[in-house]
């Protein structure tokens, strides 16, 4: 596939002898559609992505590049989660009387069978999947889990820490205790997630950038102007975008990775003709997916020395 000359130019550059970009490959063509917000599955054999408003969900095989459309639901492409039983958990939003109602769906990739596991939910926070199996969400300051039998229950004690954005607050659920962390004071928190090892969390505070804290909400690192921060599978690195705009259009965006303690920051793209956005680490620590503003999905292969 054709790859931007500027991206090619950047490939092979080594940073501080620690990380190098091995390759950047285009995974989708514009003729196939405009795709955004990629997410890799557990064994890194597939990628899910959506359209620009997160409406609809597509799956692409990494082996042959074939793309399969799963559905055309509103918000089904918003933070879908793969589980370790080869299924994908996503949501479907319906606007009834202009109010958003959320249902939670599970799609069996092998059987191509979809199941509604909860519906008619109002005012819930994100849907999170902990430990690749436990589907949960918060509502009215309580954490709910969908059990293996698809029964909904309020969780008394959650083993794996889960972070939620509840009315812009940064909220941690841990061992059944709900804690409003808000390490930077009151304001808008977003793009929060717990590291895969369960020790830290990363988030963006709208006015100040992205930060890493421990589970007590004590700031470990200030990543600065960094958006959409996402953990690597080994919890050592965070990938994010530095996107700029003129108030109407994105004028520039490039991708960076930083060590979780904030002591190292490495640029991994440096292009003017392609605006790289919404990066996400695959289950392999050496691979990152992202989309361009024009709706092309890309893959970056890294080498850690």
């Amino acid at each position: 596939m054709k790859i931007s000359f500027l991206i090619m130019f950047f490939v092979g550059v080594t940073f501080a002898q620690e990380v190098s970009v091995v390759s950047i490959d285009q995974l989708t063509k514009i003729e196939q559609g405009k795709f955004y917000y990629p997410v890799g599955n557990i064994d890194d054999s597939k990628i899910a992505f959506s359209n620009e408003i997160y409406k609809g969900l597509w799956l692409q095989n990494n082996s042959d590049g074939k793309i399969e459309k799963i559905n055309d639901y509103y918000s089904s492409g918003f933070e879908p989660n793969f589980t370790n039983d080869n299924q994908i958990v996503f949501r479907k939003d319906n606007f009834e009387n202009n109010l958003r109602y959320i249902s939670i769906h599970k799609y069996d990739i092998s059987k191509k069978a979809e199941k509604i596991i909860e519906s008619g939910l109002r005012n819930i926070a994100q849907i999170k999947v902990a430990n690749e199996t436990e589907i949960s969400f918060s509502k009215d300051q309580s954490l709910f889990e969908i059990k293996a039998n698809n029964k909904l229950s309020k969780i008394a004690t959650n083993v794996n820490p889960i972070v939620m954005i509840e009315n812009s607050d940064l909220v941690l659920y841990k061992n059944g205790v709900r804690s409003v962390l808000n390490p930077n004071g009151d304001g808008n928190y977003l793009w929060a997630s717990v590291s895969p090892d369960g020790n830290n969390l990363v988030y963006t505070f709208a006015e100040e950038g992205s930060f890493v804290t421990n589970l007590n909400g004590e700031i470990i690192a200030n990543l600065g102007y960094a958006h959409y921060p996402q953990w690597s599978s080994n919890s050592k690195w965070i990938v994010f975008m530095k996107d700029y705009d003129n108030g109407e259009l994105v004028t520039d965006s490039d991708l960076f990775i930083a060590s979780f303690d904030g002591k190292k920051e490495i640029r991994i793209t440096d292009t003017k003709d392609i605006h790289e956005m919404y990066p996400v680490w695959s289950k392999s620590k050496n691979r990152i997916y992202f989309n361009s503003t024009k709706g092309i999905i890309y893959k970056i292969e890294l080498k850690f020395n």
Partner: protein
């Protein structure tokens, strides 16, 4: 001085909204990007309107009203600083993270051309006939309809509701970035055009912005089929029908904007005695909201205008408009001059200020300007304020320094009612003759100056940088020029400020000369030659146990969360690279007090142990300032008792070690807990310092007799020798032996039998050169030995006491 008008806007805001069915509805209000970047934040010079401010004000009004109706409202930004200039991805990300039902981005518009118009525009995502979210298009139509009802806009033959892809055809399907990634229906509304000057004046009025928030509220209620508002609003504009506004405004006659709006209007509504006091922003606007439907009597008035009234009917869920042209009250009295600026016999008057004369009756501009004269003659232009009662003369160029001027208004000046001044009026003033030096640092003859000192001269007027060449020098004791780094931004504040590019030499003397030719922006000269000689502190420090190198964020709480008192929102602490003593970063403390006894404090997230050795010294490198406020350190003990310790007055610049002895704080184990700055008076309201390398257990600073750090141990022969009764012993401790905190050193005296008779040194010392005086008054004549021990080094030498 100009009269400062205090505008009191009394809004009638009932705290009891009738609870509609917005309970459970979640809405994201986006006031666009924040800050005051002229390139992006749409600044209109007249009347100093920023779109970012107007949008934010509308958003806060909408948040208040919608929250009162039961909605949950997320506002994408929390202020209007440059930090609030959020990326498009963040603004849509906030809406998505909160799963809101509706997104509304609030703006005002500009043509970007010399053509003026005033209308509303609402954009949704997609093409006109193919919206990405169909419900966004229907909401956009509601918003437009309601905006047009409350804003002073026209419905010109112009697009009012559009999909962004249709509106910006050259952008393809990029459209408006803030609507791109939303998971819910969203729109962007442009309430009116802020580059239409009469509208910009209205947008300066908070009530006008609030009325737009009501329009948005009505639209949201309709969107969610949540009923209608039980109460109504009343608004209008009061004007003088006989005075036209400037044609350069391109006023729209359909909106009544050709006629001058009145300032400081007062509207009273009965029954209820609701009162609205207007502003002085040339909009004539008054406003009452949340009124119970029914019949009212409205009374409107303005200074010099006759009271007028109307019967009005307030309708639920609607806005009623009553615009009025008020009649000027004829005043047959002769005018008087109430005051002048400057006052008669003023001395040291600014050479660049305007001259103002305030009358008690509106004046006829032409006759009054003709009646004005100034001697010696000065060219200038006239303008008027305060309803044509204040004449302002703006000299074309600076007045002559040290000149006596006389201003006269002859009795040919007359009012708009054709009544002349009975007598001419005149006053005198003398302009500034000299650029005055208010303060400077370092003080001449001072000998404790930092190696990185910021040299600073504060004058009473902004400096003309073009006058500095040949009028300022900075040299060392050999007359060799020292290269400075100059803060060019300080000239406008009347400050000449510079630091040496390379650190100065400890113990060395330097000289700064500023010459008589230094001038200000008014062309006034300093007319003196000032010589300042100072000496750099001759002290050598060796690092102790560093407990915070200020290289990493996250170790400190914010001043707002650390117990600060009387600080404003600009007060801050952050790790940055603006200055550093060591490494790449330091801690920047920025504070601004809003009271007379403010206290800035930052606390560590986790306190750090500094031991229990009372003899230990604890300190930080401080990059100082000249505020005169007090620097304090905070400690706590094992029982969580907290201790503040006054360290020094902030009356220095450059990096200096500021330390305290732990035994002066408290006994026992101590932990370093924080840093404080105590306000000393109402005038010391703000400042900025930097902190770096907090440490303890470092050696007592010593005189840096030799600039070079010793590379080997040395124990010198005492001098004099023989001696009676005292002598000096010199020794050196090399750097390689000094562990962090210094090596332990003993220097003892023994008699001929080997018995110890005195201990001169018994402490940890850093590398350096030392001298100790031995007083043998109590000893008998004879041979004595002195022995130096440090690490593996031991050396003894003999001396002779002869009495």
């Amino acid at each position: 001085m100009k009269l400062v008008k205090i505008i009191t806007i009394l809004l009638f805001i009932s705290t009891t909204f009738f609870a509609q069915s917005l309970s459970g509805v979640k809405i994201c209000i986006d006031p666009g990007h924040g800050g005051h970047d002229a390139a992006n934040d749409r600044h209109i010079i007249v009347p100093d309107f920023w779109e970012s401010e107007g949008n934010y004000s509308k958003a806060l009004h909408a948040e208040e009203i919608l929250t009162s109706l039961g909605a949950t409202v997320i506002v994408t930004r929390a202020g209007n600083t440059d930090n609030d200039d959020l990326a498009l991805s963040v603004r849509s990300g906030i809406a998505n993270s909160n799963n809101v039902d509706l997104f509304h981005s609030i703006h005002s518009n500009a043509t970007g051309t010399s053509t003026r118009r005033n209308s509303s525009l609402v954009l949704f995502r997609g093409y006109n006939d193919a919206p990405v979210f169909p419900d966004a298009k229907s909401y956009a139509a509601k918003v437009y309809e309601n905006l047009e009802k409350v804003n002073h806009v026209t419905n010109l033959s112009y697009t009012n509701i559009s999909g962004d892809w249709s509106f910006y055809p050259d952008w393809g399907t990029s459209g408006l970035g803030v609507l791109r990634g939303l998971t819910m229906p969203g729109i962007l509304s442009e309430g009116s055009f802020h580059d239409y000057i009469p509208e910009a004046f209205r947008l300066k009025n908070s009530s006008y912005l609030r009325h737009e928030a009501w329009a948005i509220t009505r639209s949201i209620l309709e969107h969610f089929n949540a009923g209608t508002l039980p109460n109504g609003n009343l608004a209008g504009v009061l004007r003088d029908p006989n005075v036209n506004v400037s044609s350069t405004y391109q006023p729209i006659s359909e909106l009544g904007d050709t006629k001058k709006p009145l300032n400081s209007v007062k509207a009273t509504l009965q029954p209820g005695n609701y009162i609205y006091n207007g502003d002085d922003q040339n909009n004539g606007y008054y406003f009452f909201d949340n009124l119970t439907p029914g019949e009212y009597k409205l009374y409107v008035e303005a200074e010099d205008y006759s009271l007028d009234s109307s019967n009005v009917t307030i309708v639920a869920n609607n806005s009623t408009f009553v615009n009025k042209n008020l009649t000027l009250i004829v005043n047959e009295n002769n005018p008087n001059v109430l005051e002048s600026y400057p006052q008669n016999n003023t001395v040291n008057f600014s050479n660049s200020a305007n001259i103002e004369i305030l009358f008690d009756i509106q004046m006829d501009k032409a006759s009054t300007e003709s009646a004005f004269s100034i001697s010696p003659i000065v060219a200038g232009t006239f303008s008027w304020e305060d309803n044509n009662k204040r004449l302002i003369f703006n000299p074309t160029s600076n007045l002559v320094a040290g000149q006596l001027y006389e201003v006269t208004i002859s009795n040919l000046a007359k009012t708009i009612f054709d009544k002349n001044l009975l007598f001419g009026y005149n006053f005198q003033f003398t302009t500034r003759s000299k650029l005055n030096l208010i303060s400077y640092y370092p003080i001449n003859g001072s000998d404790d100056i930092s190696r990185s000192v910021e040299i600073r001269f504060q004058f009473d007027q902004a400096i003309n940088a073009g006058t500095l060449g040949g009028n300022i020098s900075f040299t060392d004791s050999q007359g060799k020029a020292v290269t400075p780094s100059v803060d060019f931004t300080a000239y406008s504040k009347g400050i000449i400020s510079f630091t040496p590019v390379s650190d100065l030499i400890a113990g060395e003397s330097y000289k700064v000369i500023i010459g008589e030719g230094i001038g200000d922006i008014e062309g006034v000269k300093f007319q003196e030659n000032l010589e300042v000689v100072f000496t750099v502190e001759n002290v050598l420090y060796t690092n102790g146990e560093i407990i915070d190198d200020f290289e990493t964020a996250g170790n400190w709480k914010t001043p707002q969360n650390s117990g600060s008192i009387g600080i404003d929102e600009t007060t801050n602490f952050e790790i940055n690279s603006s200055k550093k003593y060591n490494g790449n970063f330091s801690g920047e403390i920025v504070y601004s007090f809003i009271s007379n006894d403010g206290y800035y404090k930052i606390s560590r997230v986790n306190s750090v142990a500094v031991g229990s050795n009372g003899e230990s010294i604890f300190g930080l490198w401080i990059y100082g300032e000249l505020s005169g406020n007090i620097l304090e350190y905070w400690f706590k003990d094992s029982e969580n008792n907290f201790y503040s310790k006054e360290v020094d007055t902030l009356n220095f610049t450059g990096w200096k070690m500021k330390d305290v002895k732990l035994s002066d704080v408290a006994l026992g184990n101590l932990w370093f807990e924080g840093i404080g700055i105590k306000q000393v008076s109402s005038t010391n309201i703000s400042g900025k310092i930097y902190v770096d390398d907090a440490q303890y257990d470092f050696a007592t600073p010593v005189e840096n007799e030799v600039a070079n750090i010793p590379t080997e141990y040395l124990l010198s022969q005492n001098y004099p020798n023989p001696f009676n009764p005292s002598t000096v012993i010199k020794y050196s401790i090399p750097s390689f032996q000094t562990r962090v905190g210094g090596g332990f050193v003993t220097l003892k005296i023994y008699d001929i039998l080997g018995s110890e008779v005195a201990t001169l040194v018994n402490q940890r010392q850093g590398s350096g050169n030392y001298s100790v005086t031995f007083d043998a008054s109590n000893l008998t004549s004879g041979v004595y030995f002195y022995r130096l021990n440090s690490g593996s080094f031991t050396k003894s030498m003999k001396m002779l006491l002869i009495k």
